[in-house]
């Protein structure tokens, strides 16, 4: 598989949609700021109120993809209390932010549509 950079479609957020719920959560976690791997895992677990129990192996596979697709990049930002064991920090790329926003508005449209239809059907 050739790298994404050579593909003209790669810059467009739509080609990455829809996102898997886990991936959406990972991007959400990183939207707050640069985080190390363990922090992302913890954030996803917290945000989803434990419904998504992100395991280490799957997480790093997703992370690798996100790095390959250039939605996420290494970050130089390090907090003052940094523990070297935490390893690399990751942050969203501009493309990653656009993808996250695109997914958010896609989900919002979907939600709006479903509410509208439920009202029309007399449900609720």
């Amino acid at each position: 598989m050739t790298s994404n950079a050579s593909d003209p479609a790669a810059g467009r957020p739509e080609v990455h949609l829809p996102l898997k719920p886990v991936v959406f959560h990972i991007l959400l976690a990183l939207a707050e700021g640069a985080l190390h791997g363990y922090g992302v895992i913890q954030a996803v677990r917290d945000h989803s109120e434990g419904r998504i129990h992100l395991e280490t192996g799957p997480f790093y596979r997703h992370l690798k993809r996100l790095l390959e697709d250039e939605l996420v990049q290494d970050s130089d930002a390090r907090p003052a209390d940094d523990d070297p064991r935490r390893g690399r920090y990751y942050a969203l790329t501009p493309l990653g932010r656009r993808v996250l926003a695109a997914e958010q508005s896609r989900l919002a449209r979907l939600l709006a549509l479903s509410r509208e239809l439920m009202v029309g059907m007399g449900g609720g």
Partner: protein, 918 residues
């Protein structure tokens, strides 16, 4: 502060090795730290959480590590899909540019997949098809076995087992019989089941219309009632909703009380012959009156029995339990076999899942055949794999360039897989078409002994099977080159190109292994086919003891009115039947072209043979179990003349013998030699053991003649001691229920087949109400008796020929390829003074090595695997050395022949041209 010990750390490191190296070097350390933090937090929450951590981490790490090793493939995302789609478009384009390669690969696969799918569709329909009963896996056939005969159930056994068995929830008795029906244009026979009260509940079926049998229906003298199948209701009763309460057939006093649900049918193995009665699929069920305890013995095995296992019990459990109950039953119901007799004569109960019972005759044949076609498929896949290996060599530089330009491993994988997937899909599709055609052909040639062939066809299961085969071959053929490719660096691949050097030893090695395997498989199939062809020839040359040429036969169903014409006693019925048949014989002899006619209850090679314990005037054992056994056949006058058997001493039964009940019989030579060696048998006395063993009453017969041995049961087995009794002693059974079939035999001057319609007409003119069926010739019965061998022989021979052809093509292709690769080397050799003959020998030797290795491997493998054929073989040893040697030599010859053309080509290489071409 770090709670985790080094052991946990090492364990996690080992788990992380599931991930590919590149992934580990990027994220490995981080992942380890994250996992350890997880483990630490689990430790704070107790040992249960720690255990859970290890379970999910092991699972997740190993599974995802392996998944990560696969090429990245994200369905639904635009970019990679188009890339895969593009790869497939390229594959199709590349294949169309190499039509010979593509066509060879597709047709080869189609042959293999087609043959395997066709046979699988038969196996699927016959052996794997679920029975039309609820909880069919708990249904068992219950019977008895002594020596090799599979016997039914005596009423004493039934009563005792029903009462005492804990492994059987239910037990039912039935008798299969037939009743003539006034058909539309001619009388027909109707398969009928006389069922004990428990039969339908054992089968788990209730009528969809009307009612089932009530207890009073089984009382002697009850109004005759019947249940009919849905099929009968539609075909014979016009699907009339008001059919309940009407007669089963017009004019019958048997009233329909219910219709069984659609889809239900009473399954039984073919062929079923009892007392010469051959039955159609049973459509009518009538109540059977089971003898009460006072009238039951453990001695008459005329009933069949089905049982339903208790939950949790197996057939083996039931068999063990019944073995104990059987001895008790013989004591509780005296007058039949004694407990001592049962113990001494190795008599034992048999409990067999109905599914096995139904297909016991054919399953081994079908599995062997399926195995044979799988070998063909293996050869086909090996051939295609080989083609792809050669093809991969040609693509090495293309792929090396791709990798050098940064193509990922996944994309290289797809570059290989795409072609093999396209080829396999096309081959699979063509294979399914071939299978559909082949299945039709198979069905038209299949022996009638294979049950429920009507369920055979290319259906969803078969399609899934075929596509599975295609998928496996796609992956196999597509990935094999990849393993070779992986091991070669870009530099070697590019460096090789253009220098025309010999391919690396390793790549040769892979192809050669495949070729050796192919030759070995072809040799195995050839040996199997040769064994069966020999068997077939041996069977054809067996002297059956009669002259099958130009003897026409037909079966007549004698109705109750004929049997009771002379009065309502059993003896009168026995006589009436023979008198009627004598009249039929007279009618047949009026037909021009008929030389002599006769009748009998059974024909040779046509179903089961019945046995009796006998005594002779010289030897009257007091216990039945000490008495020798003999096959027993009921015949009419001039029977041996009609079937062309030779009476070697005395005379055969004459028509005058049938005026009353003559106490005369004939014996075969084996019987005479066993009992009166070197002496004359005529005038000696022979008795049948009846229910009582005291040998009083009319049990003695006088031998009036000795007939040359006739193979009654099977061409494969020499004749047993046999007695031939006049049909007047054939018991008509309880003639109010039993219908009797007799066989008319007519020796004609020429063309027995052409005579059949005229013979039928003669019988019908004489008695229009007597159904005539199974019109055939003795010659046909003989060839029909080895139909399974013939079926297997033709299939395995076709498989072997296809296998050998594929093998030869494979070797030709491989050797040609090697010659092409080594053109420069041969050119150099010849320039340096090697002669054309030397170069030819060099090439031939390579082919010969492969052939020899394959032939040896095949022979050795067959020495082990050949035994599974043994049950089908006749007159040939499954490990006969000359045969193995012959096949090995034959295979070698074919291999050398297919290497000859490329060798010849190598010998004609012009050294100047070969060197200049580089």
């Amino acid at each position: 502060m770090r709670g985790s010990g080094n052991a946990s750390r090492s364990a996690l490191k080992i788990l992380l090795r599931s991930f590919p190296t590149g992934f580990r070097s990027e994220f490995g350390d981080e992942m380890l730290e994250v996992l350890i933090r997880d483990l630490d937090s689990a430790r704070t929450r107790g040992p249960g959480q720690v255990a859970w951590f290890w379970v999910r981490t092991t699972w997740n790490t190993v599974v995802h590590g392996c998944l990560e090793r696969l090429p990245r493939w994200r369905p639904g995302r635009a970019m990679p899909t188009t890339e895969i789609g593009r790869e497939f478009r390229f594959a199709v384009r590349r294949l169309t540019r190499r039509p010979v390669f593509a066509a060879t690969a597709i047709v080869t696969l189609a042959l293999g997949i087609g043959a395997t799918t066709a046979l699988f569709s038969v196996v699927n329909g016959v052996l794997l098809r679920p029975l039309p009963y609820a909880d069919a896996e708990r249904l068992v056939f219950v019977g008895h076995q002594s020596t090799s005969d599979l016997l039914g159930m005596p009423s004493g056994g039934f009563l005792h087992y029903s009462e005492q068995s804990r492994t059987l929830d239910q037990l039912a008795l039935y008798i299969e019989t037939s009743a003539p029906v006034a058909g539309v244009d001619r009388p027909l026979e109707l398969g009928t089941i006389m069922a004990s009260p428990t039969l339908l509940s054992t089968l788990g079926v209730t009528p969809s219309m009307g009612r089932g049998f009530a207890p009073e229906d089984h009382e002697p003298g009850a109004n005759p009632v019947a249940l009919v199948t849905h099929r009968y209701w539609t075909t014979h009763l016009g699907a009339d909703p008001a059919a309940v309460g009407r007669p089963v057939t017009p004019g019958s006093n048997q009233m329909v009380i219910g219709v069984l649900p659609a889809g239900f049918s009473f399954e039984r193995p073919e062929p079923l012959v009892i007392f010469g009665n051959r039955f159609d699929v049973p459509d009518v069920f009538v109540p059977l009156t089971v003898p009460n305890a006072a009238n039951s013995r453990f001695g008459n095995f005329m009933y069949q029995s089905l049982g339903r296992l208790a939950p949790g019990a197996t057939a083996e459990d039931a068999e063990r339990e019944l073995a104990e109950l059987m001895v008790q039953a013989a004591e509780v119901y005296p007058g039949g076999l004694t407990a001592a007799a049962l113990r001494e004569s190795d008599f034992r109960p048999v409990v067999m899942p109905v599914e096995d019972y139904l297909v016991r005759e054919v399953s081994s044949v079908l599995w062997i055949l399926l195995g044979a076609v799988f070998l063909v498929l293996a050869i086909a896949v090996a051939n295609v794999t080989n083609l792809f290996l050669v093809r991969a060599d040609a693509r090495q530089s293309e792929l090396a360039v791709r990798r050098a330009l940064g193509a990922s491993r996944g994309s290289v994988t797809w570059a290989f897989l795409s072609e093999s997937v396209v080829v396999s899909l096309l081959g699979g599709a063509l294979g399914v078409v071939l299978a559909a055609v082949a299945t039709r052909v198979l069905l038209s040639t299949a022996p009638s002994s294979i049950p429920h062939l009507d369920g055979v066809g290319v259906n969803a299961t078969v399609l899934v099977f075929a596509m599975g085969l295609a998928g496996v071959s796609a992956v196999g053929a597509g990935l094999a080159p990849l393993f070779q490719h992986r091991q070669r660096s870009v530099r070697t691949a590019l460096g090789d190109e253009g220098r025309g050097g010999t391919a690396t030893r390793q790549r040769h090695h892979g192809r050669r292994t495949l070729l050796v395997g192919q030759v070995a498989l072809a040799a195995m199939l050839l040996i199997g086919s040769t064994l069966l062809v020999r068997t077939f020839q041996n069977l054809k040359s067996v002297d059956p003891g009669f002259d099958a040429a130009e003897t026409a036969t037909m079966r007549l169903s004698l109705s109750r009115s004929i049997l009771t014409a002379a009065g309502r006693t059993e003896a009168a019925a026995d006589m009436a039947r023979s008198r009627f048949m004598l009249d039929v014989v007279n009618q047949l002899e009026q037909v021009p072209g008929v030389e002599i006619a006769s009748f009998s209850a059974d024909l040779p090679l046509d179903g089961d043979v019945w046995h009796d314990h006998v005594a002779t005037g010289e030897n009257v054992p007091t216990r039945i179990e000490d008495a020798p056994r003999a096959a027993r056949v009921f015949i009419g006058p001039d029977y041996f003349a009609a079937i062309g058997a030779r009476v070697v001493e005395g005379r055969e039964l004459a028509r005058s013998d049938f005026a009353e009940q003559p106490r005369a019989l004939l014996v075969n030579q084996t019987f005479a030699e066993r009992h009166w060696p070197g002496q004359s048998a005529v005038g000696r006395r022979v008795a049948q053991y009846g229910p009582s063993t005291d040998m009083t009453g009319d049990v003695w017969y006088t031998v009036i003649g000795v007939v040359e041995d006739i193979r009654e049961a099977s061409l494969m087995e020499p004749a047993e001691p046999t007695i031939y009794l006049p049909t007047v002693f054939l018991p008509a059974g309880n003639f109010t229920m039993w219908i009797s079939n007799m066989v008319a035999v007519a020796r004609v001057r020429d063309d027995a087949v052409a005579m059949l319609p005229r013979l039928r007409e003669a019988v019908q003119q004489y008695r229009p109400d007597v159904p005539v069926n199974r019109e055939t010739t003795l010659a046909h019965l003989v060839s029909d008796s080895f139909r399974e061998v013939r079926f297997a022989t033709s299939l395995i021979t076709i498989a072997a020929v296809v296998a050998l052809m594929l093998g030869a093509i494979g070797i030709y292709g491989a050797v040609s390829y090697v010659v092409g690769q080594r053109t420069r080397e041969f050119g150099v050799r010849m320039a340096l003074g090697a002669t054309a003959a030397e170069v030819r020998r060099l090439v031939l030797r390579q082919g010969g090595m492969v052939g020899a290795a394959g032939a040896i491997l095949g022979v050795v493998a067959t020495l082990f695997a050949g035994r599974i054929l043994e049950s089908m073989l006749f007159g040939v040893d499954s490990v006969e050395p000359s045969l193995y040697l012959g096949v090995a030599v034959g295979v070698m010859a074919v291999v050398l022949l297919s290497a000859l053309i490329p060798a010849h080509r190598a010998g004609r290489i012009d050294p100047l041209q070969a060197l200049r071409a580089e």
